[in-house]
Amino acid sequence: MRIGVFICWCGSNIAGTVDVESLSEKAKFLPDVYYSEDVKYMCSEIGQESIKKAIKEQKLERVVIGSCSPRMHEETFQEVLKDSGLNPYYVEIANLREQCSWVHDEGEETTQKAFELVEKAVAKIRFAKPLTTETLPVTKRALVVGGGIAGIQSALDIAEAGYEVDLVENTPSLGGRMAQLDKTFPTLDCSACILTPKMVEASSHPNIRLLTYAEIEDVSGFVGNFDIKIRQKAKSIDHDKCTGCGDCTEKCPAKIDNEFEEDKEIRKAVYTPFPQAVPNKPVIDRDNCRYFQKGKCKVCQKVCPAEAVDYEQEDEIIEERYGGVILATGFDQLKPEGWEEFGYGAHPDVITSLELERMFNSSGPTGGKVVCPSTGREPKRVVFIQCVGSRDKNKGNAYCSKVCCLYTAKHTLLLKEKLPDTESFVFYIDIRTAGKSYEEFYERARSTGAKYLKGHVSKVETDGKELLVRSYDNSIGEQIEVEADLVVLASAIKAKGTTEGLAQMFGATGDKDGFLSEAHPKLKPVETQTAGVFLAGACQGPNDIPDTVGQAGAAASKIIGLFNRGEVESLPTTAEVDASICSGCLKCEPVCPVGAISSEQIEEKVPGGVVTRQVAGVNNALCRGCGACTAACRNGAMNLKGYTHRELLAEVDNL
């Protein structure tokens, strides 16, 4: 066996602390190593060529590369081997950067550690076996979870490329958070005016199947072929018969807090969430319906002229196979109830920004008038408090919610338009306007008269009637108190509580704040760790509309690329059973997270004849190579290809 060792300088990243030249010399004396060299940038074209040249000239059969993390460039080097006619799994990477040079100072010991990492990699590659992949066909149908602007945009983009999409939304209507907004920064477009046409387009597009009032029930499979069960919740209204006349809603006697109006208005049990809802037909909220809860009422059925009310309707499970998935599940806004300093919940005139947003809207609870909820009168002095629960490690979230600076500026502008004589004061920690035309928008808010005061609010004091906002102005260097009529809290954007469970089904991971993690913060911003599952919008982190739409397009293009390619390569590093030592105990079966293991019967020749016995069998199409079964197997019969017991023990022996 002829092994070649290649040590990368990574500029000064590795060479700065590791003596790469002596390392390369020393590596020559390792078993089976016939060649070694050090190259300044191994991943560069020159570096790759030098590997190819050495493979050809030195007749190398296997390659060890001392470089950065395999996560970064394993694929790059696998391609190099493939181009040189070797099996791509005949390359092993020793991580000299993240695991050595970046975490140690320059010195002999660091170089020694680097050598041992190389030594370990050489030991492993000696036992490597060639691995092959199969190509599998891709189901050219996409699933988009979440019907806000992110989901709508990605569904439209995929549909426009000619592929079929199922758009699943949990609530009775498309629209999401954007539908709740009155105007959008930095152009002050009316939110509904730009969103509603997209909602209608999504619902009427021949390639989009819209499933509102539906949830994801179960997920199995892998990239190219996800088998997904969707629960279509019973709408209790036959939407084929319903004309959307609204008689049922009008007559329904139930009164429930309207979540679309941030609970500041009531809705009925049979309802459409808002006037521009798509589909514009009601559903019955069974948890709050008198008939479903108490067995009496049926008013809606009596008044329905189309006989569309159907109390017998049941939840339906839709099973479908998808090639790729986009998660676009959105966000929630923090409600700082019980936080004494701001008085939210204690005084009706302390409201959240989303509540003010609904107040601005002409179809909102006040019909577009901004009033103090306690008196119904117009406020004279409005105080906006930014960073409520954002950048707050004590009670809220450590992160910045990204959009509050701009929407607060928007609110001051809209307020000036509606109530020219009303003063607005904005208390802030920093103003962050990173985005095109955002700084100019902030400037516009200032020049229109909003008074920005640098300092957070310590307390909103109230005697039950009046509100007094206490803060400290950093410019003047004194404490400041403002007699306010209305206090608006720019409350933090937070991850939806339901996102985590959903993400788990898809194998996507959440970060410490509950937002979904991208596969790489810079280079794979819309990918998850699961191939074929992508992210768009605020489920990935606080995001504004332009960035959300951008992400939606990016995620859609990843799906379109996948479908255009038409096939995926199966994972070569799957589990493998050595049937000769498998006892058939099937301890591995329950630990497999994807259900890839089942029992198989094999025939074995024994002295005196042939017996049939049970062993474990692995479905390579389902196996994701996690290795749980290899740890559970008592006999060591289960091996992960590319990471066999023999290979791993060889590594350990050389450490």
Binding site: D421, G449, S475, I476, Q479, E481
Partner: protein, 136 residues
Amino acid sequence: MRFSLNSETSGTKKENAAILDELEMITEEKFSNCFQCAKCSAGCPASEYMDLYPHQVILMAKLGLFERIFESKSIWICTCCFACGSRCPQDLDPARIMEGFRLIALRKTESRPEVYPFKGEIPRQAYVAHYRKNFK
């Protein structure tokens, strides 16, 4: 120290609105552009003698706290060297704003003698400011 913002300090109050209008007319400066970076105060060679820094004067004017500006020494200490205006990222000229306050103070001298700290003579800056009034 603590200050209060209420219906008395309100910028929409007629009296305050009139002062701000007059100031903006005299100085041709738009106060609201100021975002309190305090670069003016950072570079002001006379700041060590001031009780209110230039950026504080501008913020107080925006908040309608005119009493405190007229009571301060700062507006008389400013020498109109224009170091502030040459550096302001919002292209304001705080020195002209100081001039504006001096002019208004002088116009009010008879009714409010307490704001006029120079007995018997008008300070030099006021003369200079007078000639510079429409120079921008």
